[in-house]
C-alpha cells in the first residue's frame, strides 16, 4: 500500500538523488516524532501489558495478560465479529466505489457539484453519522415511521432489526456510507490520469466493456484500490465509537472490549485492555504487510 504515492513514475527521473546528509535532515523531525510517540506508545503499552507498573521496585514481567486474553472464550468471538465487520464493510465499499468511480469518470468527470457533495461524507465525523443512523433505521426510526404512515399499519414488529443487531447492519451502513467516497476519490485520481485513450484503443480492437474493465481499467486502479482498502480495513478494524454505539451488548468488537478493560474501575483489568490494544495493532500490521506482499508479486514491470 505504501507504494501508492509513487505509483506513477516521477516526472523528472534525472534528479532523484540528494546528498545523504540533506535527506537525513529532511527526515529527522518526522522520524523523531513517529519513533518517540508512536513507537514509544506501543513499546510502553507492551511493557504495561507484560505487567510493568510504575513506582514499583521489583518488576515481574510475564506474558500472563496476553495468555489470559487470548485464551478467553470471548476472544475468538470478538475477533470473528471484528473481522466480519472490517472485511464486509471494506469489500462492499470497494465494489461500490469501483462502480461509482468508473461511472463518474465516464459520465460526470467534470461535474463539480457531484465532487463537492461526495466530499461531505469524508468530512462528517463518524459519531454524528452513527447517531443519525440510529434515528434513521431503528425499528422506531424515521424510515419505520414513514413506512407506518405510507402503509397505514404499525410496522414496528415487522420492521427488520438494523441497529444493535446480530449482523451489525447499522455499523456496516455507517462505514459504507463513510468509506465509499474515500475510496472513490482515491480511484478517481488514478482514473483521471489514465485518460480515455487506452479505453478507446481497447474498444477499437473489439474488446467488450467487461474485457476493457478487467484488462485496462482494473490493472491501473489496482494499487490505489489496494492502498485505500488497507486503510479502510485498518480503520474499521480498530475503531471504537461506531461499534460501541450501534453494536450488540454482547459480543463486543475487540476495540470496545479493550477500552472497557482499560477503563475498568478494577485496575487489574487494565493491563489486559492494553494487551488487547497491542494484539489489535499486531493483527492490523500483519494484515497490511501480508496484503502488500500479495499485491506486489504480479505486474511488477509498471
Amino acid at each position: 500500500m505504501f507504494t501508492a504515492p509513487a505509483s506513477r513514475p516521477p516526472v523528472s527521473p534525472k534528479e532523484t538523488t540528494l546528498p545523504q546528509k540533506s535527506i537525513i535532515l529532511l527526515l529527522t523531525p518526522a522520524l523523531l516524532v513517529v519513533v518517540t510517540l508512536f513507537g514509544g506508545g506501543l513499546v510502553i503499552g507492551f511493557f504495561q501489558a507484560l505487567g510493568y507498573q510504575p513506582g514499583i521496585e521489583e518488576q515481574s514481567l510475564s506474558l500472563q495478560h496476553f495468555i489470559t486474553t487470548l485464551t478467553d472464550p470471548d476472544f475468538t468471538t470478538s475477533l470473528g465479529l471484528t473481522l466480519y465487520i472490517a472485511l464486509t464493510s471494506t469489500l462492499i465499499s470497494a465494489i461500490a466505489s469501483i462502480l461509482l468511480a468508473v461511472a463518474i469518470n465516464h459520465w460526470a468527470a467534470n461535474n463539480k457539484i457531484i465532487h463537492f457533495i461526495l466530499q461531505i461524507p469524508l468530512a462528517a465525523p463518524h459519531l454524528v453519522i452513527g447517531i443519525s443512523m440510529i434515528l434513521l433505521i431503528a425499528p422506531s426510526g424515521f424510515i419505520a415511521r414513514l413506512c407506518s404512515f405510507l402503509f397505514a399499519v404499525d410496522v414496528q414488529n415487522t420492521f427488520p432489526i438494523l441497529v444493535n443487531d446480530k449482523w451489525s447492519v447499522g455499523i456496516l451502513l455507517v462505514y459504507i456510507w463513510k468509506e465509499i467516497p474515500f475510496i472513490t476519490f482515491m480511484l478517481l485520481t488514478v482514473l483521471k490520469n489514465m485518460g480515455n485513450e487506452l479505453l478507446e484503443a481497447g474498444a477499437s480492437l473489439g474488446a467488450t466493456k467487461l474485457q476493457r474493465f478487467f484488462s485496462i481499467t482494473f490493472p491501473i486502479i489496482r494499487l490505489s484500490l489496494g492502498a485505500s482498502c488497507c486503510i479502510v480495513f485498518a480503520f474499521t478494524f480498530g475503531a471504537f465509537e461506531i461499534p460501541y454505539l450501534l453494536g450488540q451488548t454482547y459480543p463486543q468488537t475487540l476495540p470496545v472490549w479493550a477500552y472497557m478493560n482499560f477503563s475498568d474501575i478494577d485496575l487489574k483489568a487494565r493491563p489486559e485492555g492494553v494487551a488487547l490494544g497491542i494484539i489489535i495493532a499486531v493483527i492490523v500490521i500483519s494484515t497490511v504487510l501480508l496484503s502488500e506482499y500479495l499485491t506486489r508479486t504480479p505486474n511488477r514491470n509498471r
Binding site: 518517540t36 514509544g40 510502553i44 511493557f47 470471548d74 425499528p139 443487531d165 451488548t249 474501575i265 485496575l267
Partner: protein, 409 residues
Amino acid sequence: MIFLQQIGTSLLSFLVSVVISVGGAFAADSLSWQQIEAQAHGKTVDWYMWGGSPAVNTYVNEYLRTELRERYGIILRQVPVQDIAEVVSKLAVEKQAAKVEGGSVDLMWINGENFRTCKKLDLLSGPLTNILPNSRNLDSDSLALLSDFGTPVENMEVPWGNSQLVMIYDSARTPAPPRTISSLLTWIQNNPGRFTYPAPPDFTGSAFVRQIFYHEAGSVKQWQGNYSKEDLKNAADKTFATLVRLKEALWREGRTYPESPVRMDTLFADKQVDFSFSYQQGSASQNIDDGIFQPTVRTYVFEEGTVSNTHYVAIPFNAKDKYAAMVVANFLLSFEAQLEKAKKDVWGDFPVISLVKADPAWKNQFSSLPKGPATLSDEELQAHQLPEPPAEVLIYLEKGWQKQVLKNR
C-alpha cells in the same frame, strides 16, 4: 523503555515546566471557614459528573454556576463524563503513579461501588463533611447517611441528594400495571418482547437486578448485616436463573439490551416496550414536560418497595482547588440550593437535608413544592423505600450478570 523515557523526558522537558502546576496542600483543619472562603475566591472548580441528564445539567450549569459566581466568586465548570467509574480508575492510576498534586478533578459526583473503590484505594481528601458549616442542616443520626451501599461514609463524601427507583408506564397503554415483582415477572412472560432493562453495570439496570435479587432472596434486612458467602451465592444464583428464564420474553429476546436508562426511555416512548424505570423519581414528569413522554405516562413503586439511595460529592486526593471545592460542597447543602434542586421543573431530587430542624418558612416552601403529573407524593415514596445492599453484593451481581445472564455460561 527506560531509553525511550529518557529521550522523551529530555525532548519534552521544556513543555513539562510549562505544564506543571502546583496545588496547595490540604490543611483545612488549621484554617477557619472564612479563610477557606477567602482562599476559594476566584478559583475554578472542575466538577466531574455523569452528563446524561439535561435536568441535572441545567441545575448545575444555570442555577449553581450563577449562584457560586455571585456569592463566592467561584467559577464552576461541569465536566460531563459518561461514567464516573472512568474518573475513579483515572485517579487510581494517578495514585499509582504518585501524582499527588495538581490533579484536574476538583469535585466528583459519586456513590456506591465507586465510593467504595475510592475509599479502599485512598483516593479522597477528607474527612470533609464535618468541616462544612452547612453540615448542621443534615440529620447526623440518620442511618441512611452513615453508610453508602454498606461502606461507612465517615465524612469522606458529602451527601447531596436522595433518589428512589420508580417504575414508569403509560396509563393509556397499560391501565393496570403489575404492582409487585412477582406479578411483573408474570406480566413479562405473558407479554413477550414488551419489557427490557439496561445492561448492568449501568447504574439503573443494576438497580433492577437488585430488585429481583431482593425478591428471590426473600429478605432485604439480611444483606444489611452479616451474611455468609454461601447465602449470597445461593440468592444470586436464583436471581440469575430467573433472569435467564426471563430472557426469551424480553425485548429482542434478550439478545441485546439498552445501554442506558435514557435509551430505555426512548424505547418506551416509541412504544417498543411498555415499561421504563428510573432512579430519578421526578424524571418521568420532566420528560412529559419536554414532550419526550406521552402526557398519560405515570409512575409507581412496588408494594414491597423499591431501592433508594443517597448520592454524594467527594474531593479527590490530588484536587487542584480543594478549598473552592469545599465551598461548592458546602453550598450544595444550603436550603436554597436544596430547594431549587427539589423543584419539579428543575430536577425533582429529594432534599438530603433534614427539615425537622429547619426554619418554618423553609419547611413551608419545601412542603408546598408542586409535583409533576407523574411524580408520586413524598409520603408514598418514603413508605416504600428499601435500602441498597452493600457494594460487594452489587459488584457480585454485576459480574455474575455479565457472565451468567449475558454470556450464558
